[in-house]
């Protein structure tokens, strides 16, 4: 099992969410975060000088899926979150060793 951590533009969230739901990937946890990439955010020109706005609002999605689903989910997010401009975000995949459903107590162990 893997946790897919995707950091995307807030305005792309709905599109990503819908595309994932179509693929049957419904469950997720969403956090409002701020972030910057390697470009140090956005540069605004301001009366000759530049102002850097470094931390921009992003949405972090955490999605835990079976190993075989990872590539499809990653690909779906990528496709729907992309604008092609700086700031589209990143996806990280982290191993999950165990997953428990609180309601039932049912435990799934990852292969890791």
């Amino acid at each position: 099992m893997k946790m897919i951590i995707a950091i995307i533009r807030p305005e792309k969230f709905e599109a990503v969410e819908d595309a994932l739901a179509e693929k049957g990937c419904i469950a997720m946890t969403v956090t409002e975060v701020k972030g910057r990439g390697e470009q140090k955010g956005i540069k605004l020109q301001y009366r000759g000088s530049f102002v850097e706005v470094d931390l921009l609002h992003k949405i972090k999605m955490e999605i835990v899926v079976e190993d075989e689903m990872v590539d499809e989910v990653v690909e779906t997010i990528c496709r729907n979150a992309r604008t092609g401009k700086f700031g589209d975000g990143r996806i990280f995949v982290v191993p999950v060793e165990k997953s428990v459903r609180i309601r039932t107590g049912e435990v799934v162990n990852g292969e890791n």
Partner: protein, 397 residues
């Protein structure tokens, strides 16, 4: 001097002053978090612009003398000869100040049309020009002895001067400035509905001074004005609520919009119609402004905070309704239902002319300013938000 009238207009002036930031708060809750400061500031700056223009030449051009029915003269620039004393009624200085607040509120309403994408500096230039070439002429035409008042058109507290001007002006501006980036593609959600409702509460309160104070006396007309104002707003709030319930859930923003639609619609009529008229105007206002808003959205026009649908349509509708419903026992004027169709004709002329003028002249001003200095921020600035890019501030930490 009538001290009781003076007391009432002193208070009314303060109440209308409170509406200026009130518009900003009302609007600010409906934009995205990154533009919340900008939206309030546009209204605050509207007050500053109106205050300065009014003192320098605005009051004079609006209310002093008359040049061919179109505009006033310069006899009272810098408030020259505007006295704090008076024969009977209220001092002219107080009337001047009361009117100043109206200019401020109107400019604040106009900011709907370019919400979340205007450059602050361009707004200031635009605001000065707009007050000069749209608001002040309208004030003169209807209240300063200009041609519309001479042909018998009535506008009690600003159905056309305030609401048609800002509503149709905002529409023109929205077209010139263009849609917000991503508008129609992803949803743009209100960031803070309670803030909008705080602003709405202040507007509701201030409107007592806006319409009631427009009687300029603490008299029967003032009493009538505040009664019909509140009653129309209640019925309009309910009729909008019913409309939205039929289509889905009745949201608080809808109910508030309905209330404001009722307030805008009763504004031109508050000194001329009675409580039955207020009920009729209220119910219809809630329905037609709802439909206008729906139409605006379906057309994909990003007149972002619906000054057009609510103020523009509401103010125009109410101005026409005066021609129908004016009750001679209230304000001395008769509408169609009291057997006089002349007033209705004057009202139609006034509404048509003010709609066309407001739209066309605002459009022209916007194009000119946009040519000289861009009205709109850059794509990056818009993405980051106006709070950071225009003000260097962050609304909430």
């Amino acid at each position: 001097m009538n001290t009781a009238d003076t007391a009432w207009i002193l208070v009314s002036t303060a109440m209308v002053a409170l509406m200026i930031p009130g518009v900003g708060l009302f609007y600010a809750g409906m934009v995205r978090k990154k533009n919340v400061v900008s939206m309030i500031t546009l209204s605050v700056v509207s007050a500053l612009i109106a205050g300065v223009i009014w003192v320098l030449y605005g009051y004079s051009l609006g209310f002093s003398g008359d040049v061919s029915g179109f505009i006033g003269d310069f006899a009272k620039i810098l408030l020259n000869n505007v006295s704090i004393d008076s024969g009977n009624g209220i001092p002219e200085m107080l009337f001047m100040l009361f009117q100043m607040m109206f200019a401020g509120v109107t400019l604040a309403i106009l900011t709907s049309g370019f919400a979340e994408r205007i450059r602050l500096s361009s707004f200031i230039v635009l605001g000065v020009l707009w007050l000069t070439f749209v608001y002040i002429p309208f004030a003169h035409w209807l209240w300063g002895g200009g041609w519309l008042s001479r042909i018998g058109s009535l506008d009690f507290a600003g159905g056309m001067v305030v609401h048609v001007s800002s509503g149709f002006g905002a529409l023109a501006l929205a077209l010139v400035v263009g849609k917000r980036y991503g508008y129609g593609e992803h949803s743009i959600e209100p960031n803070n509905i309670p803030l909008t409702l705080v602003g709405g509460a202040l507007l509701w309160f201030g409107w007592f001074g806006f319409n009631g104070g427009s009687a300029l006396h603490a008299d029967r007309i003032a009493v009538n004005a505040i009664a019909v104002t509140f009653i129309a707003s209640c019925f309009a709030g309910l009729s909008w609520m019913v409309m939205s319930w039929l289509k889905g859930k009745p949201g608080s923003l809808g109910i508030a919009s309905g209330i404001i639609a009722g307030l805008a619609s009763i504004t031109p009529a508050a000194g001329f119609v009675g409580t039955e008229g207020a009920i009729i105007i209220g119910i219809i206002a809630g329905i037609i402004c709802f439909i206008a808003l729906d139409f605006r959205i379906r057309k994909g026009i990003d007149e972002s905070l619906d000054a057009w649908a609510i103020h523009g349509i509401g103010g125009a509708f109410g101005s026409l309704a005066v021609g129908f419903l004016a009750d001679p026992s209230i304000g001395g004027y008769s509408g169609v239902i009291y057997g006089n169709s002349g007033l209705f004709v004057s009202q139609i002329i006034a509404v048509v002319v003010t709609i066309i003028y407001a739209f066309a002249v605002t459009f022209a001003i916007a194009k000119i300013v946009n040519y000289a200095i861009p009205l709109r921020v850059s794509a990056e600035e818009e993405y980051v938000g106006l709070d950071i890019s225009q003000h260097g501030e962050v609304g909430y930490v």
